[in-house]
Amino acid sequence: MSEQKDVLLRVDGLKMYFPITQGIVVQRHVGDVKAVDGLTFDIHQGETLGLVGESGCGKSTTGRAILQLYKPTAGQVIFEGEDITAMRGESLRKMRRRMQMIFQDPYASLNPRMTVGNIVSEPLEVHSLFNGKERREKVKELLDVVGLNPYFVNRYPHEFSGGQRQRIGVARALALNPDFIVCDEPISALDVSIQAQVINLLEDLQQEFGLTYLFIAHDLSVVRHISDRIAVMYLGKLVELTTRDELYANPMHPYSQALLSAVPIPDPVVEEKRQRVILEGDVPSPANPPKGCNFCTRCPKAFEPCYETEPEFKEIESGHWVACHLY
């Protein structure tokens, strides 16, 4: 776990709103789903930043907005000093070589009519890297790297298991030798027995190629295993961001506390004493978030200012950011 502080990617005030429209021919704009509402954080060179939160809190949208698969509503994504939200066309296309994504659903993210060889070589063709024979060799090499038999090149995706398909997705993401990979819940669609294999593969590849990951997940034990730092997200906003050990030892935001208290501890003595913080109610709609703190409707520790003003996301201790009025 390196202590490098070189910032590879800086996200500054990122907002992603999806408009809600009404009407059939003339579409009126009646509101926004605030899927991502003002995120600011850094990702350091070579680290794994875990992004956790419950379903629908905007984790995947964050990943896609960073990669410019969605055009962010506001904010900047600065990759090695360049603001990629301002990029269009060819320069953006070139930039995509350096940032790739591993998708959540290995069944939907591979074209059923393309062979594995074509799928993995597509990024190479898109950027005109290598020619015919070299490209085929490169594809076989990539399959080998992710632990698939290189002779599988002529097979179709449906002939593989979920874990193997995810390996194909990883090979494809690696094809362009990227610096940064967004892993969008890469294991949540897989069997538990296969999850560990894919996690280990991702870790090995990180070591080998010096990759930087944004690892999106809702499985807290997996995030704990793979991340250097962890960001906790709730209803489109970051509530806490700190190192992995600090978060698990000393979660400060009431939401993080509730989230972590849900993780079983593999020690019967400690597990016995585990106090669960049970949250009441449901997550409010991102189209109509509450006034004040987004978490105030469910927070066990909420007091007056929580219902009035939005807490600032600030550094409470060195490297430990929290958005809460308690601190």
């Binding site: 021919v25 579409q27 698969l69 995509r96 790739q100 074209n111 990024p123 002779y151 599988f152 097979r155």
Partner: protein, 308 residues
């Protein structure tokens, strides 16, 4: 098992880089396994053969009347003769020759009707699906309007204005059937455009031609070819129906529908006159439906294996 063992090839046939002839043999084997596909293909080719070579294979001129030999029974009945295998109609024309010539009209209508409907529908559907928004609303509005036209009334109307001709029938089918293609195309384009693999192609930096030609079209073509075979068989059916109502090609042209109409009056006394064109229609549409079923499975790599 170690991960290494897990990824060992299970089926060597697929894992070697195959030559063209090996691929062809593979497709052939696959074809042979599916008997209903072969039957459908054979039936379809028989009809195509009859249409293309009708002058060579039909024993008589289909228009030649011979009142002395009218209403003859088929050859295998007591009164029949092998001079006229299927017998003759009320004007003494050879039914066998007329059935063979009838394939021309049916196939022409089916083929060109689908060509027009398919082209029109695909272009409109693809634009609606890909562009979305207001363009989509307008195109789909027009399509729903065409769908709401009572088709038979439309046919009577056109036939009354422009007269009865093959081209009119084809045009009517082409226009009234295009919404079916447009809807399927639009739905598929919408589905594919939002799919994970298109997103992953974009994130790899793919430009739009690659997305259209490598991702959207290959995934679109299977359902459309299948739809085209089914629509073709439906058009052959409808053309015969129109012929029966006297709204299709002029009565002098030997078509299955016209033959049915002519045979209607003699259904109780000489049922054979209407039976043979009816069987021909059945044969053709059955062949095309079997073929379409088979094509759907063959064109989708996911279904190839599951088909016994």
């Amino acid at each position: 098992m170690t991960p290494d063992e897990l990824t060992q090839p299970a089926d060597n046939l697929l894992d070697v880089e195959r030559t063209f002839s090996e691929r062809l043999a593979y497709i052939g084997r696959f074809f042979w396994r599916d008997k209903s596909g072969i039957i459908g293909l054979v039936m379809f080719f028989l009809v195509v053969f009859a249409a293309v070579f009708s002058p060579a294979i039909s024993p008589y001129n289909p228009l030649k009347q011979n009142l002395r030999d009218s209403k003859m029974l088929p050859a295998w009945t007591a009164e029949g003769s092998w001079d006229h295998p299927f017998g003759t109609d009320n004007l003494g024309r050879d039914i066998f020759s007329r059935v063979i010539y009838g394939a021309r009209v049916s196939l022409t209508v089916g083929f060109f009707g689908v060509l027009i409907a398919g082209t029109l529908g695909m272009v409109l559907g693809a634009i609606a699906g890909y562009a979305g928004g207001r363009i989509d609303s307008v195109i789909m509005g027009v399509i729903n309007l065409v769908l709401s036209l009572p088709y038979l009334l439309f046919v009577v109307f056109i036939a009354a204005i422009l007269g009865r001709s093959l081209i009119n029938v084809i045009l009517i089918f082409g226009i009234t059937d295009s919404p079916v293609f447009a809807r399927v195309t639009r739905g598929e384009v919408l589905r594919i455009r939002e799919s994970g693999y298109v997103e992953s192609a974009i994130s790899a930096g793919a430009r739009w031609p690659r997305i259209v030609f490598d991702h959207i079209i290959p995934n679109l073509i299977g359902p459309l070819i299948t739809l085209a075979t089914f629509e073709m068989s439906a058009m052959i059916f409808y053309e015969a129906g129109l012929g029966f109502l006297g709204l299709s090609v002029p009565p002098t042209v030997p078509s299955w529908g016209n033959m049915l109409a002519a045979g209607r009056k003699y259904l109780t006394s000489y049922p054979w006159i209407a039976t043979f064109p009816g069987l021909a229609i059945m044969f053709t549409s059955m062949g095309m439906n079997l073929l379409g079923d088979w094509l759907r499975d063959v064109l989708d790599p996911r279904l190839r294996r599951s088909r016994k």
